[in-house]
């Protein structure tokens, strides 16, 4: 991560008005944040908190009522900034009468990319998102996950510096979500800046470097994930190659007490459901034909 500000908002405010120009709703109030180059930045908040409004303001889909925002040093109303931005909306708003190749070609043309470069990049991206076999099918025949994949491919067709993802894992199965998170991390490794907003807190926790939490249009929390989630009053200890025993418990209690603390919990850690699910699917793929028997915990081959 560098200190170059890819996105900066200053007192960014959005007020929606009714037909008569009267105030209907303040969707975002005086937002002051910045996103540094090469980081994954998460926007969090419940429905109606202003996450998507912020993204739409950054993209120029909405115009600020007050304040200003800059993307890559340019005002958000400047169309030129879009040359360096890739955007994946929550729903994949692609033209369903086009196939994957045509879709990438169309969006590539909007970036004024030369035909030869366009074709090369489209082929690479189709391979990267795993849609080679389905590239000639119209998108109306695609599943939600496939549409999200081609949506991501179109967001990367211009090799952007900034990638904005609105609910990138929404509607995806755990495998798809895992794939998406992996890809987002790889974008960071390529030096790209990523802004994402999501309801799936575990995804954000997994991959974001910094986050901003919004509620009813106001910024409530803002900073590094590791710093924000740190509980300074508690201590965690992890050890390997050791079994639970009363003796161990007694010893640990004594050590903690000697340092003025209290032992709250003691036991084997559990893995996350996502990790367990991925493990099961991986095993199933490795050994086809296996199945779980309900009357026994064992797994048996057919």
């Amino acid at each position: 991560m560098s200190n170059v500000k890819v996105v900066e908002t200053r007192k960014l405010t959005k007020i929606f008005l009714d037909f008569w120009g009267r105030k209907k709703k303040t969707a975002l109030r005086a937002l002051d944040i910045h996103v540094d180059e090469g980081e994954i930045f998460g926007l969090l908040g419940p429905n109606g908190s202003g996450k998507t409004t912020t993204i739409k303001l950054l993209l120029g889909l909405l115009y600020p009522s007050e304040g200003e925002a800059f993307v890559l040093g340019k005002p958000t109303t400047d169309v030129k900034k879009n040359e360096y931005i890739g955007y994946l909306p929550e729903e994949s708003y692609l033209y369903r009468f086009l196939n994957a190749e045509e879709t990438l070609d169309f969006y590539g043309r909007l970036f004024d990319i030369e035909p030869r470069v366009r074709r090369k990049r489209a082929a690479e991206l189709i391979e990267r998102v795993g849609l080679e076999r389905d590239k000639k099918r119209q998108l109306r025949e695609y599943s939600k996950g496939m549409r999200q994949r081609i949506g991501l491919a179109q967001a990367l067709i211009n090799n952007p510096k900034l990638v904005i993802l609105d609910e990138p894992t929404s509607g995806l199965d755990p495998l798809g979500a895992y794939w998406m998170k992996d890809l987002i991390r790889s974008l960071r490794n390529e030096g790209k800046t990523v802004i994402m907003c999501s309801h799936r807190l575990e995804d954000v926790q997994d991959i974001c470097d910094r986050i901003a939490i919004l509620h009813e249009g106001d910024l409530q929390a803002y900073g590094k994930v590791s710093t924000l989630l740190q509980d300074a009053d508690r201590l965690e200890l992890r050890a390997s190659n050791i079994r639970l025993s009363d003796a161990l418990k007694r010893d640990l209690e004594a050590v903690v007490k000697a340092h003025g603390g209290t032992l709250d919990a003691f036991g084997h850690p559990t893995t996350t459901l996502e990790d367990y699910f991925l493990k099961v699917v991986a095993e199933s793929k490795a050994r086809p034909g296996r199945r779980f028997l309900a009357d026994d915990t064992a797994v048996q081959s057919r």
Binding site: F16, L61, L62, Y87, Y93, Y95, E102, F111
Partner: protein, 636 residues
């Protein structure tokens, strides 16, 4: 020698408005009218924007840009003030006595006065002011992006199976012949009407629907989000959609025109083809009447359609027998006619009978054609000297021609007379300030009237004996199709611009209403000029409720006066709005040329193309601003 040939089919052009000439469209008057109308609208928009907060943006500009904008704004003040005065004047009738003459009687396109020049300059400044952002945007436009969006619109229409709508036209091909008369004289005209009517309805409706639905659907499904978040100028979306929709409709139009042409050429009987499959090149003169109640309109026989003026047969007056006369004056004639042996003159007149006459007998007319070199006395002396002088010799030496025998014509038939080419050779000589040729027509029967309009008499510049001319007919057919293309361009542009802000249904409805109003422009004009029967719209509503006849004047009550005064306001407002209607009725008349076998004038068509393009330009500018200001993700 009887040079009459009455076997021609009825072929007549009923042009209520003269075809356009380039010098008219590009004249100072037209330019001033355009600058005043469009500039007036532009200044109104510019000042409203300025007062609604645009002044902050103007003062935020730096250097030359700020000076230029302020200068153009200052120059636009006169036309803006005129706008305000005109808007206030619309409500003037409310404060005038009921019988006061109001400006609704003034022509819609007034003659330019000297005061119009500075105002037009002011209008030009306003146009430059509002088009400056668009012009500044032009270097950023990319043809690749525009064509990408055009290609998308094209594919969208094809893959959404819009073209299925055109299969309805197959019904015409399959069953059209049931309604086509077998009479050769009407066959081609009906074929052409059916084909063009069907093509027009389907193409305009489908074109308007495509234009009205594209952008709103993209906004509704949020597909537009992905386009505007790319480096795409908003106007590129508009132009791309326009080009894509027009490309598709052009393709469909070319296919349908070719199919329609084949259908007609293969479908018409050989007799009808021989008679009608042609594209006459007519030479029209200017009509004036003599010894009638009006030199411009002749006598009025009470026909509701006032297209033709009438002349009666010889009448007895205090000064003796007077013979009313219609004369066509030709200022010049083309030299190509002079080298021909014969030139055919054709005419289609209307009979207004005051007595029944005889069954299957037409009305006799007198026809005399003279050139500017004609000297009646010299011709009389020459004839006395040599009574055997042939009509060709008389035409050549004395610039005079009168058909031998009587000339009789029938209703709904085109008569023809062969004129010696020598007459035109004579007409080319002499003082160019005098009209080259004059055709005089009189009615021989004292109890009948003959009705004539300017386009009822013409000389054939093409070869009248050529028979069927499928190639010339095909070219003419495609020219009429080009006129339909211009109408499509008009409808699609207007509807597309409306759809940048409005929903599909509303854009479609507004676009169609605009086109319908443009089609009934003549009626709107009558309404504005107060000539419509039963008064204005409000008065007519009252008459409907009261069940009173249109001819009966309203009673002199306060309520009726209020209605009549309000109608005047409605008429003023309509008159102001009528200035913004497109010239659709001119474009819709071209199939009549084809059906009646007349060549479409290239200059006329070019003028209409120019008018269409200049009409569309302000609409596109409006679309540029609407899309630019629109928050595509905002509440709809």
């Amino acid at each position: 020698m009887n040079s009459m040939n009455l076997n021609l089919p009825w072929a007549a052009l009923s042009l209520e408005r003269d075809p356009l000439e380039l010098f008219q469209v590009l004249s100072v008057g037209s330019t001033l009218f355009y600058l005043l109308t469009v500039g007036g609208l532009a200044s109104l928009c510019a000042f409203l924007w300025f007062l609604a907060g645009g002044f902050r943006k103007v003062f935020a500009l730096k250097g030359f840009a700020r000076i230029a904008v302020l200068l153009l704004l200052a120059l636009s003040i006169p036309i803006f003030l005129l706008d305000i005065a005109s808007i206030v004047a619309l409500f003037r009738p409310l404060f005038l006595p009921a019988d006061a003459v109001i400006s609704a009687n003034a022509p819609l396109v007034p003659r330019p006065g000297w005061a119009d020049f500075p105002l037009a300059l002011s209008g030009l400044a306003a146009i430059l002011l509002v088009s400056a952002p668009f012009v500044a945007n032009l270097p950023r436009l990319s043809l690749r992006r525009i064509l990408a969006i055009a290609n998308l619109s094209f594919k969208e229409a094809i893959r959404k199976r819009v073209l299925y709508a055109f299969t309805g036209l197959l019904l015409i091909v399959l069953f059209g012949s049931w309604f086509i008369p077998s009479k050769p004289t009407d066959e081609l005209r009906t074929y052409v009407s059916v084909v063009f009517y069907a093509m027009t309805v389907v193409l305009i409706l489908v074109g308007a629907l495509l234009a009205a639905s594209g952008l709103p659907a993209d906004i509704r499904t949020q597909s537009l989000f992905l386009i505007v978040t790319k480096p795409v100028e908003r106007v590129e979306i508009l132009l791309g959609r326009l080009i894509g929709t027009m490309a598709l409709m052009t393709l469909v139009l070319v296919v349908l025109t070719s199919a329609g042409l084949m259908y007609i050429i293969r479908g018409v009987s050989p007799d009808a083809a021989e008679e009608s499959l042609k594209a006459r090149l007519p030479l029209f003169g200017f009509l004036e009447f003599k010894n009638t109640s009006s030199a411009a309109k002749g006598d009025n026989v009470g026909r509701e359609w006032e297209y033709r003026g009438y002349i009666s047969g010889p009448t007895q007056s205090a000064t003796g027998i007077v013979s009313p006369e219609a004369s066509w004056v030709y200022p010049t004639v083309p030299s190509v006619l002079a080298i021909r042996d014969k030139v055919q003159a054709e005419f289609t007149f209307d009979i207004y009978r005051t007595t029944k006459g005889f069954e299957n007998r037409g009305v006799g007319i007198g026809l005399v054609i003279t050139t500017r070199n004609h000297d009646a006395e010299a011709m009389r002396r020459a004839r006395e000297k040599d009574p055997s002088l042939s009509p060709e010799q008389i035409a050549s030496d004395h610039g005079y021609f009168q058909p031998a025998g009587s000339v009789t014509f029938f209703d709904y038939a085109t008569g023809s007379v062969d004129i010696p080419g020598a007459l035109f050779a004579n007409a080319l000589k002499g003082d160019p300030k005098l009209p080259a040729l004059t055709v005089r027509v009189t009615c021989k029967e004292s109890t009948q009237y003959v009705g004539m309009a300017r386009y009822d008499f013409y000389f054939r510049q093409d070869d009248a004996r050529a028979g069927a001319q499928p190639v010339r007919f095909a070219v003419n057919f495609f020219l009429a199709s080009f006129a339909l293309w211009l109408r499509l361009l008009l409808v699609i542009s207007v509807t597309l611009v409306l759809s940048t802000e409005l929903s599909t249904v509303i854009s479609l409805l507004m676009g169609m209403v605009l086109m319908m109003l443009a089609h009934v422009q003549e009626f709107v004009r009558e309404l504005v000029e107060g000539k419509s029967a039963g008064g204005g719209p409000l008065e007519n509503i009252k008459r409907l409720i009261d069940n009173s006849v249109a001819a009966k004047p309203l009673e002199d009550t306060a309520f009726n006066t209020l209605i009549q005064q309000s109608d005047k306001v409605v008429r003023e407002v309509l008159g102001a709005l009528a200035r913004f209607l497109p010239e659709v009725d001119r474009l819709s008349y071209y199939p009549e040329y084809v059906g009646n076998g007349f060549a479409i004038g290239g200059a006329d068509l070019a003028c209409n193309a120019i008018l269409t393009i200049f009409y569309i330009l302000p609409w596109l500018l409006l679309g540029f601003y609407l899309l630019r200001w629109r928050e595509v993700a905002g509440p709809t």
